[in-house]
Symmetry: D2
Subunit: 141 residues, 4 copies
């Protein structure tokens, strides 16, 4: 996917602390970038205070990351986020990490909506917001 | 998989810095635990200095993590590691994160051996070591 | 100070993520070790849930760290902690970071007890616990 | 000091990973911000590749941080950096962390120039660059 495929883009500034012994951005740091971007979009959509909602919360159930190229420090990056699927109690997010417009990693994350008893269905309002085509991957030109 | 299925076990002590706003161990911290355990085994087997070898290095190409239960702070944990596949230029590692003998997350990681020109075949000695059944998942009792 | 000067000792296992581009333990990782040890002692003494108490909390106001020697990965370490002063609303903690019994860093931290209105005096019980000579620096042999 | 007192300013974007159990920016995360800004200025001045120079390197010897106010997530911040002293083998850096133009933490850091045998004098060029008044604290209006 290209950067323009993602409807939501979140900025990152690489830190010295993100760099590993090879002077490249460490793969755990990239996981941190994806976490931040994912939470940023979902907070916006679901009006969650730190991923907590009035009657429950949203937890990461599964994440995969493909590391495609090395990231460079110092430098800034962008994380593109799109919603790729909405289940009864879950949402799947697709993300791409870009540096200088080049994709250096992609990630899929499945999040589950929970209350004290376990997984819980999305409310109607939540489902409407999450299913809005504006947050789905966009056709690139 | 149970803890006894993993031939190599690496200890972790949870840190306050690993805890998120819910007082649980954060998912990025768990990625850090898996990274440490994976590198610990591969360093031992391949005599790598920080994942560097004489004529190349080993890079993470893909990782998936399934988050099964929440981790608790303060507390210690264990990461079990097994080698599940050896390719021409790659190795796949299966891992489980355990707290009080209960599995709280599992992960698969694919690592690729590289030199300056790109992926590079394992040497015969490296392949022998990586393919040793002693590092494969063990039958649980 | 020697390790035996500290009445409370908290273990640390260095992680690959703690290592910087020189293959030494990064100074921010050491700050994380000190944080964890300090919180571990204070939680024990003050029965705090994550540094929160019933009617307030304890915040770090000031910390200094002297970096004396380089830390080595892989390896384990120990953080020694002692209470060096108790003020009306604050407590000062002295710490030492040890690897193979050698001190590689020392730190002083001042923490302040707060409620919603600002600094707040310790309760009588809290003051008794914090002032107990058992938590003060011990005479080394 | 005010933000305009610092001749060099480095941007930071707070990450979800920086937030502690109180939903404030954690003090270790702030140490990471200061590290990044300090390295950014010194790399620029000394043309260091990751704090390594041709015949030596620059290590952090001592750092103190005063935590003045709580930092907010989500949000961006700025770290102001000034050179406050140049010794025979060392340099002292003064820093301020700002959010919405308000100073939330200040830090002093002493760095030492080393080669394999221990502390080593700055070269004439290095001393000239580090002593340039342009990098000293500026008079605020």
């Amino acid at each position: 996917m290209r950067r323009s495929s993602y409807p939501y883009v979140s900025p990152v500034i690489a830190r010295y602390a993100d760099v590993d012994a090879f002077l490249h951005i460490n793969n755990v740091a990239m996981a941190q970038y994806f976490e931040d971007a994912r939470i940023s979009l979902l907070r916006t959509l679901l009006e969650m205070q730190q991923m907590h909602m009035g009657d429950g919360r949203v937890l990461l159930a599964r994440q995969s990351i493909d590391y495609l190229r090395e990231g460079r420090y110092p430098g800034s990056l962008e994380v593109g986020v799109a919603i790729t699927a909405v289940g009864r109690t879950s949402v799947t997010v697709g993300m791409g990490l870009f540096q200088d417009e080049v994709c250096i990693a992609i990630s899929d994350a499945v999040l589950v909506r929970l209350d004290d008893k376990g997984p819980r269905e999305w409310g109607a309002d939540e489902r409407t917001v999450l299913s809005d085509p504006v947050w789905q991957p966009q056709a690139s030109d």
